[in-house]
């Protein structure tokens, strides 16, 4: 198993750099994973991450892109409730890239 180390703390990851133990996630490791994805986290990035984690807690999976855009739009204003907005924040796709930073498992299948 691969690991990453941030500020003296070790986190177990899978081959693709997704955290193995969801409970280990914290902001330090999120910031670190973001840098490996060439993303510098802003308040807007965190809004998405926080929603993903809340949704995951309830449903045990990341939300569909459509559910995410709608929820972000409701919470933060219609201008942010678009997939363009989410792709601008997470260019490799909000599903996978944001999940990785949020410490959630990678969505699999034909997505």
């Amino acid at each position: 198993m691969a690991t990453i180390e941030v500020s003296g703390k070790t986190y177990e990851t899978d081959e693709e750099g997704y955290l193995v133990n969801l409970g280990e996630w914290d902001m330090d490791v999120a910031n670190y994973i973001a840098t490996t994805e060439s993303i510098s986290m802003t308040e807007q990035h965190w809004e998405v991450i926080n929603f993903l984690r809340e949704y995951f807690e309830e449903y045990q999976i990341a939300p569909a892109v459509r559910v995410l855009t709608k929820a972000i739009g409701k919470k933060l204003g219609a201008e942010k409730g678009t997939s363009e907005y989410l792709y601008a924040l997470y260019p490799y796709g909000p599903g996978k890239q944001a999940c990785k930073i949020a410490g959630l498992p990678k969505p699999t299948g034909c997505v």
Partner: protein, 509 residues
């Protein structure tokens, strides 16, 4: 990601210059112990892998007569050599279908033919060494089982079956691929490839009901687990999750609404995809398919309709009958298959593709469209490999090509074909099929998309095409990812029922 670049278009699309070894050592992530054992495979490469692999190969050769014929029949004529999208994109000679097959054929000769046993060097026979095994792992994960090469083979050798056999042997010795095997585990555990649990599915469907109501003012339902519904819709779980897939799901629901059909999705069989086929494992193929039978019996449905998913339709059309009893030909001793045969309404095709369902409704005059709603789209159609070469639609030859196109032409005004040597039965794979739609193979996926991107570029230049419709979840996900790398908008790809959804006129029912 940043270093993945699209190869340049070929000036004249002929056989590319060879770059030997260009994809050597490419190795998608190997499934770990936990993933493998969950689906009954050895956790890791077993110690006596050599003997086990040869024994497995012998078993497959005796079980599948076709495999033995494919091993023996090839005369190396070369007709297939430049027909593979991965060969065209990677220029690696081992990705010529004949050369990829020969990775297995050479081992077959060594262990299963007399000349190969006696004079291996003279007949190109090779021992199965660890190097050869690694080569198998690498190159049999550079084939998407799309069967384009088979169309051109004068002996009709089905290359996909060779790839499936190789993967089956690899799995039997604990050397399987993470992407496919992890997904198969999720289907057994949760009900779909995505790992979407029932409550999340229900939440998503309720959200869609709200969205459609907001957009149209009509109460279009997305029912789940409804006993006594007439139609059970089996669709790829990506339709519940990803863009643009979800827009086609909305299209199916609108068609069911407009035709007054009672229908349901199932939380337990919330997956049309069947990766058991990709890894060539019959038991997995069957177990995954049986979830659908169980649900169909439990809900008492009369019809089973399959959503936009390429390989699922191949499995449904070609294999569900003997696997589950959906369609004709269930084993007489298979009690549940017989029960299902009696339960289903045979006035209708079983199973039925959603495109057949919609086209039938169009022909009956049951659906009305405002074509101008799709006027912003200038459309082309990408045939998906498994639909094109592994199935059919309707009751006439070539229905799988005509019916989706007929639907598009009914719901939209602007339609242009891509170059004929790249459509219908000669279609190119999207580059992500057959269990290769994984991030660790993104470089291969981009290269494999080259021939499709070249002809797409032609219709973009000539006709201003801005929408490539397709009926496969893998194609949709693959193109969404690779289109931007070729300089196109990711939203250029979408579903046929996405177009249906745009144009359909919903009456009050």
């Amino acid at each position: 990601m940043a270093d993945v670049v699209a190869p340049p278009y070929r000036v004249i699309p002929i056989i590319p210059a060879l770059i030997p070894g260009s994809m050597e050592g490419l190795k998608p992530f190997v499934a770990n112990d936990k993933i493998n054992t969950a689906i009954g495979f050895p956790g890791e490469l077993v110690e006596d892998w050599h003997d086990k692999a040869i024994a497995k190969m012998g078993e497959l050769l005796s079980k599948y007569r076709s495999l033995k014929v494919y091993m023996d029949a090839c005369v190396h004529c070369g007709a297939c050599s430049d027909k593979c999208h991965y060969f065209i994109g990677t220029q690696d000679p081992k990705n010529m279908p004949v050369a990829r097959q020969d990775l297995m054929r050479s081992v077959y000769r060594r262990y299963f033919t007399l000349p190969g046993k006696l004079f291996p060097k003279l007949v190109g026979a090779r021992d199965l060494t660890k190097e050869v095994l690694d080569e198998w792992y690498s190159y049999f994960h550079q084939c998407s089982e799309c069967r384009r090469c088979s169309v051109f083979c004068p002996y009709g050798i089905d290359t996909a079956e060779v790839t499936m056999a190789a993967r089956e042997i690899l799995d039997s010795i604990g050397y399987g691929q993470k992407y496919s095997n992890e997904i198969i585990g999720k289907v057994h555990r949760i009900g779909n490839n995505l790992g979407l649990p029932g409550p999340a599915l229900r939440d998503t469907l309720e959200g869609l009901e709200e969205d459609v109501k907001d957009a149209t003012g009509v109460d279009v339902r997305f029912p789940m687990d409804v006993k006594g519904a007439e139609v059970l819709l089996i669709t790829p779980s990506a339709d519940f999750f990803a863009e643009p897939h979800i827009d086609s799901l909305i299209g199916y629901a609108k068609v069911f609404h407009a035709t007054g059909t009672s229908w349901t999705l199932s939380s337990m069989a919330s997956e049309a995809g069947n990766f058991g086929m990709f890894i060539g494992n019959y038991d997995q193929l069957r177990q995954i398919a049986l979830r659908i039978r169980e649900v169909a019996l439990e809900l008492g449905v009369k019809r089973i309709v399959v959503g936009e998913c390429g390989h699922a339709w191949r499995v449904a059309y070609s294999f569900w009958n003997t696997l589950t009893g959906v369609g004709d030909g269930a084993d007489e001793t298979d009690r549940f298959a017989q029960m299902l045969q009696k339960q289903l309404d045979h006035r209708y095709k079983q199973p039925m593709h959603i495109c057949e369902f919609t086209w039938d409704a169009i022909e009956r005059g049951a659906l009305q469209f405002d074509k101008s709603k799709n006027d912003k789209h200038i459309i082309t159609f990408h045939d998906s490999c498994n639909v094109a070469r592994g199935s059919r639609m309707g009751d006439f030859a070539g229905g799988q090509f005509e019916i989706p196109r007929n639907i598009i032409k009914t719901v939209a005004n602007n339609f242009y074909e891509m170059a004929p040597e790249t459509t219908c039965e000669q279609t190119f794979c999207c580059g992500g099929g057959g269990g290769l739609l994984t991030d660790d193979l993104i470089d291969l996926r981009v290269k494999g998309a080259l021939p499709r991107m070249e002809v797409l570029q032609q219709v973009v230049d000539e006709h201003g095409v801005n929408f490539m419709a397709t009926i496969c979840a893998i194609c949709k996900a693959q193109f969404t990812k690779v289109l931007p790398i070729y300089g196109f908008d990711r939203r250029l790809v979408g579903g046929v029922h996405q177009l249906v959804s745009n144009a359909i006129i919903l009456g009050d029912k």
